[in-house]
Structures are given as C-alpha cells and as structure tokens.
Amino acid sequence: MNPLLSIRDLKVDFPSQNGPVRAVDGVNLDLFPGETLAIVGESGSGKSTTAHAVVNLLPGSGFVSGGSILFDGQELVGATEKDLEHIRGRQIGFVPQDPMANLNPVWSVGFQVEEAIRANGVATGKKEVRAAAIDVLRRAGLSDAEVRLKQFPHQFSGGMRQRVLIGIGLAANPKLLIADEPTSALDVTVQRTILDHLDELTRDTGTSVILITHDLGLAAERAEKLVVMYRGKVVEAGPSRDILQNPLHPYTQRLVAAAPSLASRRLSSGITKTAGGADFDLTAVAAKRETRIAGSDTIISVKNVSKTFTIRGGGFKSTPFTAVDDVSLDITRGTTKALVGESGSGKTTVARMLLGLESVSAGEILIDGKNVAGLRPKELFSLRGRMQPVFQDPFGSLDPLRNIAHTISEPLETHKVGTRAERTARVRELLDQVSLPWSISSRYPGELSGGQRQRVAIARALALKPEIVVLDEAVSALDVLVQAQILELLTELQDELSLTYLFITHDLAVVRVIADEVVVMNQGRIVESGRTSDIFDHPEQEYTKNLLDAIPGANIRLGASLS
C-alpha cells in the first residue's frame, strides 16, 4: 500500500535579521489512508509549521527550503498556487486552532459554511449549496441546523464553533484532515465530545487525520501513530502505545514523565515510575508529597458565599447573574486545596473574593477567624502581605516596563520592609528560591519565556513570606515540561515554607499531582469535595465522573506490558 502523504527531509525557514532561522529541519513522515497520526511537541518545536507546510499556509514570510511533500502521488513542494487551491479544502481539509478567531464575526455561520462548500465545488446552485450546508452542520452534530445557519458566531459556544470548523474542514470529504490543536482552547468534556465526533466522522469516510497537539496523553489516545518533534526535528516516531510505554529518546522520556495526564494515569494504577530513565518525573513529585491534613488547623473558611453580577442589557435594563452560588469550603493550614471546574464555573471569582479583589454579595470569608469583608483598610493591607496571588497569564501579570528586580521588590517597598540593601538581598534570595540567575534582575519581562515569567511572579508572591498563595490557573498556559518544573518548584516551596495553596485549575490531571483536597465546581455551585485520592478513585457525582473520564489518556491501559 502506498502512503497517502509522504514527507521527506522537509525543511522550512523563516528569514530574520541574522539570516534564515530553520523552524523545521529534515522531517520525514508517512501517513497511510485511514490512519490517524499525531504530531506532539512543545511550542516552537515545529509541529504546526510542518502541518502548515503541507497545505502551504505558512505564517508570515516562512518558506519551504528543501525536501518533498508527496500527497496522493502529487508533489506539493513547488506546486502552483492554482494547483494548491484545488487541493486545499477539496482533498486536504484544515481545522484551525482557535475557534474564537477563525469564524468571521460579521457573517452568519451559514454564509461561511456555504462559502466553503462553493469554493470546494461540493455543490453549485443556491438550493443545493443550502442543502449541503445544512448537511454539514447536521453531520457536525448541531441540532436544528437550519436555524443555526442564520445565526452569527457570537451566538455559538466555543465547542459549537469548533464543530462548525470541523464540519467545514470535512465538507468536501477530503482524503486528509489536518487538525491543529483543535481542542486546546476548550474544556475537557467538550474536548472529548469533539474528538469522539471527529473520530466517528473520519472513520465513516476513511479520512486520514494529522492531529497536532502538545498533550501526549491525548495524542496517544486518539492516534495510532505518534511523531515526537523537538527543535524542528523528529526525535521519535512509531506506534503510540510503543512510544508511550517504551520511550527511547531522552526527550520523549522527559515528555512522558512530565505529562500530567499520564502521571495521573500512572498514579491511579499505582505505578510511580516512568519507563526509561527520565531525569525528572512528575509522578515522583506527587509520590514524594506527604498528604498533610490531620492535625493542622483551618486557615481559610469560606461560608455560604455568593456573588451576583449585574449584566447590562439593552437600554436601561440589567439582569442579575449569579457567578458563585452558596459556596462553602475550608482550607487547612499548610495544605493544597484544588478548586476545579470548567470555564464559567465561578472558580476564579471565588479566588478574587478571597483576595479581596472582588466584593462578596452574600456570606463571609474568614481568614484566621477574621471576616475579610469587614476589614478596615489598614487590616486589609496587612492581610495582603500574608496572602498573595499568582495569575494564569505569565505575559500579562508582570508590568512590561519594570525590570525583574523592581517587580519582585515592589511588595517589599509597598510594605516598607527593610532597607534598600536588605531588599536587594531578599530579591537575590527569592530569585535563588525560584531557580533563576541574578543576572535576570536587570531584564524586562518581554525577554523571558513564559515559565521564567511565572517564576518571577511566584518570587514576587513569596517576597513578603506569605502564608497563603492563591494560584489561579498558574501553570495552565505553560508547556508540559515547564509546567512540570513549576509544579515541582511549588511542591518544594510548600515543604520549605509550609505554605497553604489554593490551586485553581481546569486541569484535573494536574490536581492529581499537586493537591491534598479537591473541590469540584460547576456553574457557580460546589458539586463534590473531598480528599484527592477519594475523589479520583470513587467519584460520587455524575459530573465529576464525566470530568475524570475526559482527562485525555484515560482510555490508555498503562502497565499491562510494563514492569
């Protein structure tokens, strides 16, 4: 059997001031009809660039500088734009990454689907195109497709938009579908239904799929073949199960050891070591943590807290919206409490109320027995010194115009701690604690990577020696390896400084690794709470079970051929 897609020695360059930069360096891969292949790697590994090169949709000034891409017997490198137009959409479908940005907000969804259908020559004539568009939406799993056609993208949820985009990608029954991180922006349960749906559609039509993802667990679960990329090169390729259970390249070993979805998987099957000798292992981090619950006292007590926002409607009307509804939880000193939920569950609002950044509509939040809402400005100021946040977006949480030393010493200056020399010494100590060199202190946030910025944010949060750190999706925006590193750092710091963490996340896999106790939230209410191991092993609520099942990699049987 001949491969449908055969890439040989592909090289892609991007011009820069210091000569061309090679983004993809000699990639080989084969994809057979009906197969699903996943390309895995961290950001900047060249995984998306490789896929974009196939359909010649390289961003900016990138260009293919060597190699060959043979699709169904036709050479795509050097093909004319006209030939490519014929192939794009009709023979190779493409599902982009961000469903929010890839539908034009000023045109109805129907218009955009019909446009794709017409461009791909699926149907001609007004009625036929319309019928085909309805068919596409129906196949994409949207009920009442006819009504939906007239709606605009903002009336669709993220998951529905991604279904539309998958529908457009598959409209012409292409032989190959390229899906670039199709579900990275979506909640896990939505991710699962979308990917199930994609599996079903492509199985029915025998379409081959290239799935680009940063999540090794997801890749292994959805694709029979895996290609691992690192710095523009393929470091390992082969059958998914094989690679997962017996990673040979040190980079793959690292990736396997650091993937939270797999670590969570290993923890529940009682395996605490990864195959292959990775120098660092997330499961080991989790195993090292002792569960510290008994004997300590309650530091934070949230009692029947609600938060209502008013949403401005048309004219002078406004409707109340309850973001947090009667939430109660206690956090024991020195432990980690995870607050888990999908987007819109109210978890971030709880954190902001705790931090005093948002007022409480009803109920009370007690810290060491004192109500946060009733504090005088002076008391609130001193409380802020004891409780510090780390936010999700490492690109937004540092002032781009202040250098790192200034940023970290801001809390010290604000609370008038020590002399200037003492403050400098403390900054040095903090940088050391988060494993950053002192040379970084005169640099600006724009020069640091996401992980490094998040370390700086952690250092700033620790400057005043707080007791409580509120981590709002603090590792969600980071690459897997960096994420694992930060999780390890957080664990070490907790041991060292006996910190109390409130860890807010949408990622249950991470929770498994870091938290002592879990609270699951949905639509502003608490669904279930308890010890991490209890929740993971014996979830009682249907919602929690769904959430747990949706962790990518949950269907992979690990350990069968291990040990």
Partner: protein
Amino acid sequence: MANKQVSAEHFVAPFDENSVLGVDAVREESEPSNLWLDAWRDMRRRPMFYISGILILLVIFVAIFPGLFTAEPPNDNCLLVNSNGGPAPGHPLGFTRQGCDIFSRIVHGTSTSLSVGLLVIAMTTILGILIGAIAGFYGRWIDAVLSRMGDIFFAIPYILAAVVIMSVFSHYRSVIVISLAIGIFAWPSTARVLRAEVLRVKNSDFVMASTAIGVSRTRILWRHVMPNSIAPVIVITTMSLAAAIVAEATLSFLGVGLPSTFMSWGNDISQAQSDIRTNPMALIWPSLALSITVLAFIMMGEVIRDALDPKARATR
C-alpha cells in the same frame, strides 16, 4: 481504534548526552530590552530621526540665540529706501515693504513660534494627561462628566474658538494669551487617546497583582498604568506642537494673533501677501521657515510612532 493494524516501525533519532537542552534555560547574552529601550534603538537606526532631530535642535538654537545669526535688528533699522528691495550685502534675503531685513525678521520670529508651540503642548499635555488618566482609571461618573466635557470642547474647532477668544481679548494679545486661546480647546484629543489606553492597561493582570500586594490606587495609576499608556500621547504631543505653530501663524495671519510689533512668521506672511506680485520672496521666506519647522516636528512624531508601534515594526 486501538485494534487497527499499525503499519510503522519505532523510529528513534540518534542522540547523545547533549541532544536535549535544559528545560527553559535563561538567555543571558542579549542587552536588556523593553518598549522604550527597543524604540530608542530602533530610532537611532533611522536617517529620518537624525534629519528631523538636527532641524529641531537648529530651530531651538536659533530661538534662544537669534543674535548669533544676524546682527541686524528686525524692527528698528527699517528704511523705506529699501522697501521690497532684493538681496544686498548683509541682507541675504532682501527686504519687506517696510524696508525691514527679511532674514532678521525670520530669525527673531523663531522664538515666538516655538514658545507658542511649547506653551500650547505643555497645556494640552498637562490637561489631557490629568483628565484622560483620571477619567479612564476611576471610571464611573467621573469618567462620564470628564468625557462629556471633553466632547463639548472637541465639538468646537479650536481655530474658530481661538479666533473668538482672541477677538474678545484683543487688548491683551501676547504669547501667553494666544497659547491659552489655542490650548484650551486642543486638549481633548490627548485626553481621549490617553483615556482609551488607560482603560486597556488598567484591566491587565499586573495591575491586579499590584492591587493584591496592597499598592494604593494612586500609586498604581502613576507607577504602572501611566508608563504603559503614555506612548501614543508622546506621538500626539510631538505632532500637536507642529499644529500649534501653524495655529499661531494662522491667527496672526488673520489679524487676531499677535500685534504687529511682535516678530512672528504669521505676521510676516500676513503683511507680505499684499505684495505677492511685486515681492513674492517676502512671502515665501517666512512660509518656508514655518514649513520646515512644522515638517521637522511631524517627521519626528512619525519616527517615534513607528518606533513605539511593535506591529509596524514586525511588518518591516
């Protein structure tokens, strides 16, 4: 899916101990950089920066030390014998109808134009920054009141307003009065631009992080929000300096600006227009001085704007 026959062998790239880099290593070789440092580096690479910079320095120098450029007094040595005369030794640009030395008048008029420009932008910038920052940062009714106030001033063309003010205060015409007349109606554009930037920046996570540290609202506004919002204001300011110089010339030309005893390019242009057929140079020279000065400031504004706009930089 798992039971499908997999047709692939397990490929591993050759590796040695050095083939995997440290996770998230720190780059230490480059120079520190942020928006301003980058912009400064960027500007110094542009010829336009040097051309406009040198012209601006020259204008400032002439304004401060006119005596170094011409020994001829602009007003006191006018002889009607020289009326509309061409260039003569010691009088390179010729004479006006009143027999005054054109070159001397231009040199001595520089400080008037520049003072008006600087006074106007000082006013618009101070008013614009205060009003824009407060409206954007504190929001609610303060914003509503200040923004509507800005809209009212914005709705009246500032040249028209200045003409009216100058006519009313015709007995008190001076550099300061004319600057006030121009500036009082010119600040809303600065305020608007700043307000929009402040609105954008104040929702950043770093502002929330500072709030959570306990930094006061006022300090957050001046230490974090303002430095991150000020870039477009600087661009606007440079360009409105040019606009203010033009406005002064316009008012003087219309006869409601500075009294004719003042050395001003606008006055000179106004007086020269009646002789445009017989002595066009008397009109052209002060116009040229005005154009070059205005051009220098506008070019500088564009250089700064390009340097500060990362998007424009990416496409270059």
